[in-house]
């Protein structure tokens, strides 16, 4: 069976190492980038089954990247889990950060530090 591909976009190497270890240990193939500028090219190349995305990153925010992803005809169906250290993420309202009303909210938000079991359950649900 071919492993599902998950792309991690986060500028913190420790977060990337952690999420990769969790995903690999659960039988997923993980890819990662800390450079949001080239992340879109990687998405097009890999065509991941799921993207784990940070919000606060240098140069461009995860929200802005997410908006661009959802505007791309070929890539807009790739599910996204937002993983962020933003306080009270459950109150985080994606709508207030984007001017484009046609963009649907991300599939899932998860607060750092993650609960590994819940995380894997969500990954399974979204990536299949």
């Amino acid at each position: 069976m071919i492993s599902k591909k998950i792309l991690i976009i986060d500028d913190e190497p420790d977060v990337v190492a952690y999420l990769s270890a969790v995903l690999e240990a659960n039988g997923y193939k993980s890819y990662a980038t800390g450079n949001i500028k080239t992340a879109m090219e990687q998405v097009k190349e890999i065509h991941p089954d799921l993207i784990c995305l940070d919000i606060v990153m240098p140069e461009e925010t995860g929200i802005s990247f997410y908006t661009r992803l959802r505007q791309d005809r070929e890539l807009k169906t790739i599910p996204v889990i937002i993983i962020s250290g933003i306080v009270e993420l459950e109150k985080f309202d994606f709508r207030t950060y984007t001017k484009d009303d046609s963009i649907p909210a991300p599939e899932c938000y998860m607060e750092k530090p993650i609960d590994v079991e819940k995380y894997i359950k969500k990954v399974k649900q979204l990536a299949g």
Binding site: D11, E12, D14, V15, A17, Y18, L19, A21, V22, A25, V56, M57, P58, E59, E60, T61, I63, S64, G85, I86, V87, E88, T96, Y97, K99, E111, K112, P113, I114, V116
Partner: protein, 468 residues
């Protein structure tokens, strides 16, 4: 002539019969023919007690008396009666009394109105003599400052033993003009009272001031509200700081959890490389905790700004000196403009230095990130609508919409490992401690402008408070 006298005049005989009266009298008290004076004046059936006319008949001297009667419409009326004796024969007995009455009802009402106004108007009114002793005080004043007649105003208002400096009453005594000022006093319950006072002269003749009336508006509630607003802003900043701290801690926790996970995975697989990787993660994140705590402690050093009168332009020149070499090495032009009308202001020089340092170093970073050539950073100082304004403007990379929204609210950094995300938060904290606010105007790719606004009134209030 009798008819022309501008009083109500009646002539009364010894039996209290009105024998003659003028038209004013008739208009006021009604018909009098064949009637007794007490019936006409007071609608009574027998002579009044303490009758002034009886006194005149008895002693033969004129009498002046106050009386209350009833006019022809049945209204109670206050009047003053001047009663004169009339003798027909020289040396003979008094045969008639001429009673001239002047109603004082109007004057009375005015006096009452004035009294109510004086006592009930929602401000403090005192009348002060040349020796600064309080001659009169209204109810509102007495309620808050106690019964203080005869005491020195400075003692009562401020519990001082000498005249206050810049006393507005003193100025009014000197020039007879109205003077105004803002003052702070102490009420009888010991509470601070803020009031805006206006002093007016009560003239003696045309050229000297006999008394001064002080009318003060209590603005304590307004002051408190203003202080509450400033406090709320300060607390808001603290709350956001705590939220920012939590954000940083969560990131570190994520690293620690990750390290722990990878170490245990390595142990299970007996993979030394993995154990090492996890261990390094643990070490790195413990170190991060230490530096975060250090940063946070220096940030949270809660202190009131140490205000002193400084020239805002000089503070800016210091920053230009500090950064011009660094900027020049990167091909960035650093300039400053201080507008001519900028006056000195009470500021915490070290605090403002920190703010400008943060804003200028951010602006230089933004220029470095920009691909554009000929970037520059401009610092300006100006005055507008009683506010002192510092602006730091760059034509660097600009800030995009989402970042702008959280720029002050979290430990937010776009500089990767290069920044702690505390710079702008610290800047805002210092600005708010000065009673000011900070605004950002920016569009991605079009540079940014940070503006610090300090209302002069608030600066002066903080300055006065610090001096007390």
């Amino acid at each position: 002539m009798f008819q022309q006298i501008p009083y109500n005049v009646a002539v009364i005989d010894r039996d209290y019969n009105i024998v003659e009266a003028n038209s004013n009298f008739k208009d006021y008290f009604g018909s009098w023919q064949n009637r007794k004076c007490y019936t006409v004046y007071k609608k009574l059936n027998e002579p009044c007690e303490n009758c002034p006319t009886k006194e005149v008949f008895k002693k033969g001297n004129p009498v002046v008396a106050d009386a209350v009667g009833i006019d022809q419409h049945g209204r109670k009326t206050h009047y003053v009666a001047h009663v004169l004796p009339i003798k027909i024969k020289k040396g003979g007995k008094v045969e008639y009394a001429m009673e001239m009455t002047r109603t004082v009802t109007e004057t009375d009402r005015w006096q009452q109105e004035y009294q109510i106004l004086f006592d009930r108007v929602p401000c403090y009114i005192t009348v002060i003599g040349e020796d600064y002793r309080i001659v009169r005080a209204n109810e509102a004043f007495r309620e808050n400052f106690g019964d203080v007649l005869g005491q020195h105003c400075y003692k009562v208002y401020k519990r001082r033993n000498t005249k206050c400096p810049n006393c507005p009453a003193e100025k009014t005594f000197k020039d007879g003009k109205v003077h105004q000022s803002s003052q702070q006093g102490i009420a009888k319950n010991g509470q601070k009272i803020h009031y805006a006072v206006s002093t007016s002269a009560l003239m003696r003749g045309s050229d000297s001031v006999a008394h001064v009336i002080e009318i003060s508006n209590d603005v304590t509630a307004m002051k408190r509200l203003e202080e509450k607003v400033i406090d709320a802003e300060r607390l808001g900043a603290v709350g956001q700081t705590v939220a920012g701290l939590a954000h940083s801690i969560k990131n570190i926790l994520m690293g620690l959890e990750g390290g722990k996970y990878i170490v245990s995975l390595g142990l299970n697989k007996n993979d030394k490389g993995m154990i090492n990787q996890g261990w390094e993660m643990l070490e790195r994140n413990f170190d991060k905790t230490t530096s975060l705590v250090k940063d946070f402690l220096s940030f949270s050093k809660g202190r009131l700004p140490e205000l002193e009168m400084v020239n805002p332009g000089d503070l800016v020149l210091e920053i230009v000196d500090l950064y011009k070499d660094i900027a020049a090495q990167s091909g960035i032009e650093l300039k400053s403009v201080t507008e001519k009308n900028v006056k000195s202001a009470p500021l915490d020089p070290a605090g403002i230095h920190t703010c400008l340092t943060n804003l200028v170093s951010n602006a230089i970073d933004a220029c470095l990130m920009s691909k554009q050539k000929g970037t520059e950073v401009l610092i300006t100082v100006s005055e507008s609508r009683d506010k002192l304004i510092f602006e730091v403007k760059d034509n660097g990379s600009g800030i995009d919409y989402e970042i702008k929204k959280k720029i002050f609210t979290t430990f937010f950094t776009t500089k990767g490992g290069g920044g702690t995300g505390l710079g702008l938060l610290t800047t805002r904290k210092i600005v708010q401690e000065h009673g000011g606010k900070i605004l950002v105007i920016s569009q991605k790719g079009k540079g940014a402008k940070f503006r610090m606004e300090f209302p002069r009134k608030r600066l002066m209030a903080l300055y006065k408070e610090a001096k007390v």
